[in-house]
């Protein structure tokens, strides 16, 4: 269905859009501006309000170079051989991508600038990832958040799509599954955090006997960074797969029948049906749901907070949890600065996703 946006001047175009824009604006512009200002100051609560001291970029400096660097970015070490290979492959790939664009038919100065920026920032993130995960390096909250986001969202999308496809089949009892699968999403996130802490307890939780039987009596997943992160990703997947599931389910239910009929007449098999008929139709919704999940996942806080408190050490501390911990001790300035660093990364990832990946996928249809 080709959409035909009209430029007509009927009043409906404002009547319909403006209320939403105004409500969002009301709660966005002022807080946004004020929190930029907060991130540039030190704030103290004093009698009758706040005492604000402007400190320039010092809060950001603290995060990127100063005392909070180790916690936010991580501890660096030289990338090993493997690290250099990863970086080289990435560099080669990016160079090829830019080269293609420059020699391609649709090159523009603005587009080129955007792409160069993309390469620089994503290269920087990869550099961070490689250097904090090799040798004596330790990932900071930013890298930990990226790990949570990408592994979590990938798992949720794959599982959500699989489950949605399964329950749109003509199976007896499928309505039971549909309702049950939605359950995790309805629990309050903070409750889920506690629930998984209870479940993952190796002393008094339900898996304790299993744990003991396989000889892990003195091993607790919370003491190992990798297993602690895995536990959090499992909890997060449990919670948010239903979200992907319900959106994709509605999209699958809404597919028009004609194309499917035509494909069947042509003798398409299951895989072909999925790849050429169904997948293209659900790509717009898929990209939306992935984008939304990514944006939400960057703000992950309840699960690590309740399950591990960010431990062992800072192995499972997300940026939002880091900001919240600073906030709790009323270091509002650094906390806001941290939130803005996160905002920068999220905006970047979302822009890349919308402009390059989503666009590409939509064109492929």
């Amino acid at each position: 269905m080709e959409e035909r946006p009209s430029l007509s001047n009927e009043p409906a175009r404002y009547v319909l859009l403006l209320p939403a824009v105004l409500v969002v604006m009301f709660l966005s512009i002022f807080p946004l501006l004020l929190s930029i200002f907060t991130s540039l100051s030190n704030i103290k609560f004093v009698k009758g309000g706040f005492e604000v001291n402007y400190v320039g970029l010092r809060n950001y400096e603290k995060l990127l170079q100063g005392s909070q660097q180790r916690r936010f970015l991580g501890r660096f070490d030289d990338p090993g051989t493997f690290g250099w290979i990863v970086l080289a492959v990435f560099a080669a790939f990016m160079a090829y991508w830019l080269f293609r664009y420059v020699t391609g038919p649709r090159r523009r100065v603005f587009g080129l600038i955007m792409r160069v920026l993309t390469v620089i920032i994503s290269g920087g993130l990869l550099w961070l990832l490689v250097r904090t995960s090799s040798g004596r390096g330790l990932p900071g909250t930013l890298v930990v958040t990226l790990i949570f986001v990408f592994s979590g969202v990938a798992a949720q999308y794959a599982l959500g799509l699989l489950l949605a496809l399964l329950v749109t089949q003509d199976l007896p009892g499928k309505r039971f599954f549909r309702v049950v699968f939605l359950l995790p999403m309805m629990l309050t996130p903070v409750g889920i955090g506690f629930l998984f802490r209870m479940l993952s307890d190796t002393l008094i939780g339900p898996i304790a006997p299993v744990w003991k039987a396989v000889g892990l009596y003195n091993f607790s997943w919370v003491n190992n960074p990798a297993t602690a992160r895995l536990a959090i990703v499992i909890g997060d997947t449990w919670q948010w797969t239903p979200f992907v599931f319900i959106i994709l389910l509605a999209a699958l239910e809404g597919l028009p029948t004609e194309t499917v009929e035509a494909a069947l007449v042509d003798g398409a098999n299951r895989w072909q049906m999925f790849r050429y008929i169904i997948l293209p139709q659900i790509i717009p919704v898929s990209t939306t749901v992935i984008l939304v999940r990514m944006i939400e996942a960057f703000k992950i806080i309840d699960m690590p907070q309740a399950m591990t408190r960010g431990g062992p050490g800072t192995a499972t501390e997300s940026v939002t949890l880091h900001a919240y911990n600073l906030w709790r001790a009323l270091d509002l300035g650094t906390s806001s600065a941290l939130a803005y660093c996160l905002l920068f990364v999220v905006t970047f990832v979302a822009l890349v996703f919308v402009n390059f990946i989503r666009q590409r996928l939509l064109e492929m249809i």
């Binding site: 319909l16 004020l34 749109t168 359950l183 984008l291 939400e296 919240y324």
Partner: protein
């Protein structure tokens, strides 16, 4: 897939092959277990005495341990309105904000999928500048009414006179991106500004603060989801309605919304759940009279360690109404109204 199966049913008696069905059931069964076991654990924990929880895993009521309703009694009977009051607050706030977000979101996303907007970045920058000036003015003790009025009139003046000169426009996609970008900043960064905002309006400790916030926070989600649904609705149906003399609003209300019922229901459920379960903003914007349930859940983790039995009871109480609603509304998601309508 549904469409595919429907086709199979109506034209030929083919069903998924037994092998495919078996695999499907095994996969679905595994996931069902994965989903239900934690909830089962909540359920049994809600009936455990502290000593049953602390002395190792107990799985079955009456077999491993004697169920006790002490946590239910403590929360629902002995502590008065400890639970009922937040419960009422959560229902009011959750439902109102979900309905508002859905209504405003449906309108906006319909507009975004049918009209083409060309907002000018220059104008937007001017607007932000005016807001900044107003804030600065208020800070140097100009009365806020005056500052707002002055900023607004400055903006209108510029917009109406030299506004047409601004070059460069943005598209619907940019508006949509701006909307979704409102969800990117973690709540912790905006708590204090929002708190001050509502304090200035005297709305703290009222339902309005929470309802407005949750509506604004969930609107971008609603708009993004519904935009996709509206896009997939054939525009021919609307055109024929226009030919029959319907107005834009009638078309939206009588043609588009019924057609997108599955999407509306799914979106409604999601925004309701988000508002129902939100914690951070709820903690600070709610006062003594408007505290919501998630705050009470977190609060069960006190200096004496998490009160697992109380947490379990509260989470079960919280999930019950939403779950019932999901059961009721599930039909609408499943029915595939759209398909029938297109054919009819």
């Amino acid at each position: 897939m549904a469409a595919l199966r429907k086709f199979f049913q109506s034209s030929s008696p083919l069903k998924p092959s037994p092998a495919a069905m078996t695999i499907s059931y095994v996969l679905l069964g595994l996931w069902t277990f994965f989903v239900l076991f934690p909830i089962y654990w909540l359920f049994v924990t809600a009936f455990k005495l502290p000593v049953d929880v602390n002395t190792g895993p107990k799985y079955l009521m009456y077999v491993d341990f004697q169920p006790s309703t002490h946590a239910w009694r403590e929360l629902l009977v002995e502590s008065g309105n400890l639970v009922t009051r937040p419960y009422r607050n959560t229902v009011i706030v959750g439902l109102s904000s979900a309905v508002l977000a859905l209504t405003l979101g449906a309108m906006a996303s319909y507009a975004l999928s049918r009209f083409s907007y060309r907002p000018k970045p220059g104008l937007i920058a001017t607007f932000i500048l005016c807001v900044v000036l107003a804030i600065v003015a208020i800070n140097v003790e100009v009365p806020w009414q005056l500052a707002v009025a002055a900023a607004l009139s400055t903006f209108l003046l510029i917009a109406l006179t030299i506004g047409r000169r601004f070059k460069g426009t943005m598209s619907n996609d940019d508006i949509a991106f701006w909307l979704i970008s409102q969800r990117m900043l973690p709540p912790v960064a905006v708590i204090v500004p929002i708190y001050i905002l509502f304090q200035q309006f005297g709305l703290l400790n009222t339902y309005y603060a929470l309802i407005i916030t949750y509506t604004a926070v969930n609107l971008p989600l609603a708009i993004w989801f519904m935009r996709d649904y509206f896009k997939s609705i054939p525009i021919e149906l609307e055109e024929s309605a226009f030919i029959d003399g319907a107005s834009r609003y009638q078309v939206l209300y009588k043609v588009v919304l019924p057609l997108s019922a599955p999407g509306l229901v799914a979106t409604f459920l999601i925004v309701l759940i988000f508002a129902w379960n939100e914690y951070t903003l709820g903690l600070f914007l709610s006062g003594a009279d408007t505290q919501t349930l998630p705050v009470l859940v977190v609060a069960q983790n006190a200096t004496r360690g998490p009160q697992w039995w109380n947490i379990s009871v509260l989470v079960l109480l919280m999930i019950a109404p939403v779950f019932l609603l999901a059961i009721v509304l599930e039909r609408y998601i499943a029915r595939g109204i759209l398909i029938g309508a297109v054919k009819g």
